[in-house]
């Protein structure tokens, strides 16, 4: 029964495979048994690549004809990317954006796992804590949460710096969403898998780590990747507290030079590039967890 379920889980559809490989990744794992399928995959990827390039070309053409001041963009780009430190000696621009997102992702994963465990727990207090937390942080705007943590907590004696407030707000907010994603992934693993493992006498943590987690992660990675791309961009909300991250600098330069569109478009391009890197990482992770199945 367990095997049947596993077979169902690892069964492949060529069309879906080609689609997932074609995403943006150049070298794909290809089924060596079928030559025609190989050609199909290659042709598909080629066409996807060409379509991407044409669309990018159209976008670039449109921007090139908006009468933008490109010398200003060249002048400000190193600062926006964060290649130098801010006047008070801290990282800035895209580097700070990535720094905030990295720590928020880390804490978010931790919070997400704990909350998902609480949400699936038989203990009523754990269940209540997890559902209350997830409900509050999914049900209120991130902007409000940032301001509450930065402005309201000091009123009760907890004074956090701008950077910590930003990372905590992002972690708490996205942790609530990630918890549901994780729970969905865990629930998608058929109960037979756990039963079979238990029948083999595996200890609980081995079942969780070696049986459930790899199967669940295959389901968790795509929506979690989406969440982290979204978090990358929502990190711009912390500019409200005066952190010199990408959005802050773009707004500030744009207003001070009266060249708003130039700076906003540049920031958009940088955010997009960073998102693409995230997406590529996601594709790799997806392939990894997909492969583990195929070779078993």
């Amino acid at each position: 029964m367990g095997n049947a379920a596993a077979d169902r889980l690892v069964s492949h559809s060529p069309v879906l495979d080609a689609a997932s490989e074609a995403g943006v990744h150049p070298a794909g794992a290809v089924n060596p048994h079928l030559n025609s399928q190989f050609n199909l995959g290659r042709r598909f990827r080629l066409r996807v690549g060409l379509t991407w390039l044409s669309l990018l070309g159209i976008l670039g053409f449109a921007f090139a004809h908006m009468g933008m001041d490109f010398s200003l963009i060249r002048q400000k780009l190193p600062f926006l990317l964060g290649l130098s430190l801010s006047p008070d000696g801290f990282i800035q621009g895209a580097a700070l954006t990535l720094f905030i997102t990295f720590w928020a992702m880390l804490f978010c994963c931790l919070i997400g796992v704990l909350t998902a465990l609480g949400r699936m727990s038989a203990n009523p207090v754990a269940f209540a804590l997890a559902t209350f937390y997830a409900s509050f942080f999914r049900g209120t705007p991130l902007l409000v949460q940032v301001l509450l943590i930065y402005l309201a907590l000091p009123q009760v004696g907890v004074e956090l710096g701008a950077l910590s407030s930003g990372i905590i707000a992002l972690s708490l907010n996205y942790g609530a969403y990630l918890a549901e994603t994780i729970r969905g992934g865990v629930l998608s693993v058929p109960p037979g898998q756990r039963e079979a493992a238990r029948a083999l006498g595996m200890p609980r943590w081995v079942i969780g780590w070696k049986v459930v987690a790899p199967q669940a992660l295959r389901i968790i990675v795509p929506p979690a990747g989406s969440l982290f791309v979204s978090m990358l961009k929502d990190s711009s909300l912390v500019s409200l507290m005066g952190l010199w991250e990408l959005n802050f600098l773009a707004q500030s330069y744009g207003r001070s030079t009266y060249r708003y569109m130039e700076m906003l478009s540049t920031a958009a391009a940088i955010y997009w590039t960073m998102s693409i890197v995230f997406e590529l990482l996601q594709v790799r992770l997806e392939r990894r967890f997909g492969k583990a199945y195929a070779s078993d």
Partner: protein
């Protein structure tokens, strides 16, 4: 679940949480030797980030002069305007040399120590506009203002500047359109009446914008707008110290010099 709470608390602490330091601003500035001034980072020529990526402008120079006279180091921070004007700084910041106009509302949460410059509010329209020649002509028109600004209060006829003459309003039924001021000017640049008919803002910043973009013109001066140095509520010794420092900088000509450097004229004379 206690373990989870402990983990969260430990995370918070490791991220640099510290308990609010009670005590007066003056003590803190003297003890640490650092003066933390907040200002606006996108308000040229008063505060902006210059081409070498440093904060610069009239407010920055005044803050530097104040720190120098107090014999302390200056630290600049640029939080969102709404976090500054809300008060309750909790010891995060000591001073706001940030082009703030006092109002009775703001005076409830902040103390105003000293006036340091005055720049009138003006009405700005698209350069091709022919219908609006003075403030009387804005009746029934859509006028953009910065959200939460004193100009918004002016259009709503609720602006009271403590210590100043009551303001007279010579328009009726204006539609104030509060938004981001930069967005308001972008809208006005699209043409008269497309999205906005005019914007109410400050003379010095409007002049800088017109010089740079050439898309607008000023059609009327509305009222005198004193800008004060603000401090958090409740430290009278600090407030007096700041007031004395500003008075000294005015007396020795420092303020006038800074004003001429950034605006080409002296807008820091007393008698606002």
């Amino acid at each position: 679940m206690n373990a989870r709470l402990t983990v969260l608390a430990a995370l918070a602490l490791s991220l640099g949480a510290s308990l609010a330091v009670a005590g007066s601003t003056l003590d803190r500035v003297q003890k640490t030797g650092v003066l933390t001034n907040v200002l606006v980072n996108d308000y040229p020529p008063f505060g902006f980030i210059d081409s070498s990526n440093h904060l610069a402008g009239f407010d920055v120079d005044v803050a530097n002069a104040v720190a120098k006279r107090l014999g302390v180091k200056l630290k600049l921070e640029t939080p969102g305007w709404e976090t500054i004007v809300g008060g309750k700084w909790q010891g995060r910041w000591d001073l706001c040399i940030c082009s703030m106009t006092p109002s009775t509302e703001r005076a409830k949460v902040l103390d105003f120590a000293a006036a340091y410059y005055s720049s009138p509010a003006v009405l700005i329209v698209n350069k091709d506009d022919k219908a609006i020649r003075s403030i009387k002509d804005i009746s029934g028109k859509k006028i953009g203002v910065g959200t939460g600004s004193s100009y918004e209060a002016y259009l709503n006829k609720t602006l009271q500047i403590p210590g100043a003459k009551p303001i007279t309003y010579s328009f009726t039924n204006v539609q104030p359109v509060p938004s981001d001021e930069t967005v308001a000017f972008q809208n006005l640049a699209l043409g008269s009446g497309v999205r906005l008919d005019g914007v109410v803002s400050d003379l010095a910043t409007a002049r800088a914008r017109i010089k740079e973009t050439g898309k607008f013109k000023i059609v009327g001066t509305l009222y005198r707008e004193p800008n004060w140095v603000a401090v958090d509520k409740g430290d009278d010794a600090w407030k007096a110290k700041v007031a004395a420092t500003i008075a000294a900088l005015r007396a020795d000509g420092t303020l006038a010099k800074i004003s001429k450097k950034w605006l080409g004229e002296d807008i820091t004379k007393e008698n606002f």
